[in-house]
């Protein structure tokens, strides 16, 4: 099949094929089955049969155009694991039959300072997101993991440890790296008290990872119902943030806090938990600005920071770390036909802790 790609020099034919996918045609439409176009393999490409795809809150934001940048049709999904079914002539890192994974990016400029440092997520020209980004090959938008197959440059494809449950590995590609990267960047390790605020898709991974890195992990939650589960995930202690007196227990004592709450919350109450030189890193993205008091930062030289996913090399490092420590996400498996219902439940926080789509269901 041939697709015409519009360029400044005129229309260029690109060899393509159709694959089945699940996506949305409008902000107010439900997701449904549709066909999308994937390019034929270039010499550097790997074609992956998608076996499982995690469901990230970003999928929902994008499908509903909540970030005001969605081009339809939109096929989300950036927690992709599967098996290599085809490789380009020059591919060296993968062979047919290998397990493989794709996360939040499928390309970047590769020549800016950040790309050269392995920080492709902060590419100066903007990285190419796995979905809803301009597709450099086809001139359309990129389509994500709610589909049968995906074609990705081998430099943006990850190796998957063979010992992990494959479905539960999928969420590592976004929830895993989003929490692993700041824990590593801020040197979390033994002898440190680390707070995790919010136990959801991201937070539950942060608990497992920080614990495996050797830190003492303190979970902050508003829900008494999550105490037991937080401890099962590895938390050494749980602070019920709304109960009187609880927030004073670790005041000034934490080395690092990972804040995975995307709703409005009192950031000063959490900043005050930090020791001198401690950092609170936001990975959730509350819609409204958070008021920060100067005196939450100045008296203890504290930092309030943010972090976004991780680079490709670091994502591989995270997968290898999870393989070594036998870490995967806690998941609830669904069929692709249940995705709209899963989104409804996601909005209510009704999932422990990540939906993963069994992509075999798309073949039905």
């Amino acid at each position: 099949m041939e697709t015409l790609r519009a360029t400044a020099e005129g229309a260029i034919p690109v060899q393509t094929k159709e694959v089945k996918a699940f996506g949305s045609e409008a902000a107010d439409a439900l997701l449904q089955q549709l066909n999308i176009t994937r390019r034929n393999l270039t010499a550097q490409d790997v074609e992956i049969e998608i076996l499982f795809c995690g469901v990230c809150h970003s999928d929902l934001h994008t499908v509903k155009n909540e970030w005001h940048s969605t081009v339809y049709p939109c096929v989300p999904g950036h927690e992709i694991v599967g098996r290599v079914i085809n490789i380009g002539d020059e591919v060296t890192k993968f062979k047919v039959g290998d397990l493989a994974a794709v996360g939040c990016m499928v390309d970047s400029c590769r020549h800016c300072d950040y790309c050269k440092e392995g920080l492709e997520q902060y590419c100066e020209e903007g990285n190419t997101g796995t979905y809803n980004s301009p597709d450099k090959h086809l001139g359309t938008r990129t389509y994500g993991g709610y589909s049968e197959r995906i074609v990705v440059d081998e430099d943006f494809v990850l190796r998957v440890p063979e010992n992990l449950d494959l479905a539960a590995t999928a969420p590592l590609l976004c929830a895993g790296i989003t929490t692993y990267s700041p824990l590593r960047h801020w040197n979390v390790g033994p002898g440190q008290k680390v707070g995790v605020v919010g136990i959801g898709g991201l937070g539950h991974m942060a608990v497992k990872l920080a614990k495996a890195m050797g830190a003492e992990v303190i979970v902050f939650t508003t829900s008494p119902s999550k105490v037991e589960d937080a401890k099962r995930l590895g938390a050494d202690d749980v602070v019920l943030s709304k109960e009187q007196g609880q927030m004073s227990r670790y005041a000034g004592k934490l080395h690092f806090i990972l804040d995975a709450v995307s709703a409005k919350h009192d950031i000063n109450a959490y900043l005050s938990q930090l020791r001198v030189d401690g950092s609170l890193v936001l990975v959730g993205a509350p819609e409204q600005p958070l008021p920060v008091a100067a005196f939450s930062l100045i008296p203890y030289r504290r930092s309030f920071a943010g972090s976004m996913i991780g680079g490709i090399a670091e994502t591989q490092e995270m997968l290898d770390f999870c393989g070594k420590h036998n870490i995967v996400a806690d998941i609830e498996m669904i069929n692709i036909q249940q995705i709209n219902e899963a989104y409804e439940r996601l909005l209510k926080g009704d999932v422990k802790y990540r939906f993963v789509i069994d992509m075999a269901s798309l073949k039905k």
Copy 2:
């Protein structure tokens, strides 16, 4: 003279003497001459004849009880330089006749983790401020540098480089270390673009220090009238933050920003100037919380931090650095009798860039 110090074990007599000072008896009173009590020297103490004392905005906040913790009478002043006139039996670091300086602290617990690391400013038990802190020796409050003499433990007394103008050295003890410490802590140096927001007592020191550390310095100001002066101080470029298009010139390009503005301002506009992993450090203290957007931090892994003065060893390092690079503050000298008028002008920002009191005027 003997003063009775109230303790849990009863009243303890302490040998003291009276010295002349300038201070305030109430939040709404003008500063006027009064007498205060200084302890007789212990074995570890150094007595300093105060020659010059800088006027910090904190003096004004405290005198007017704007931080709601002032005990009267209040004698401010924590930018103190003078000459040693007496030493205790066990003093080894100073001899009579030496130049000496005292900054924002005169003591700390000395045994907590922070004190042991040389971070006395963050002492877990709270450092003893040079004024308006509980006085461990007399049981009253500490009195600052608007006075004839001060008695301080030698461990909290600094050596002053002989080559610097002594009056213009005084502001280094607060404005100098408050800006030097974060510039050093965040490793400002050659090859870096460093922003300084706000050109006042702190900001003008930050420009001089960052420049001497080898950075390219970009000043942000709202005042066209400050452009020329910023360049004279060492700025490589000046951004007029309120002029259209100016704020885009360094967007995403700065490695570090020192923010010395204590009024309300749009912190997100400055955070967006930072490169990946850049930090904006607040040393001014706006009264109201500053709204910080998650997307000002997350996409470039930026940090919004605070910093407070510096430790004793670092303050000495700063003074030595200034001696080596011949750096002092730009000052306007006043007599102590002009202090109330100077406060009025300080409130209007009408000083380039620090008032320093010639303490000889107190003898008149």
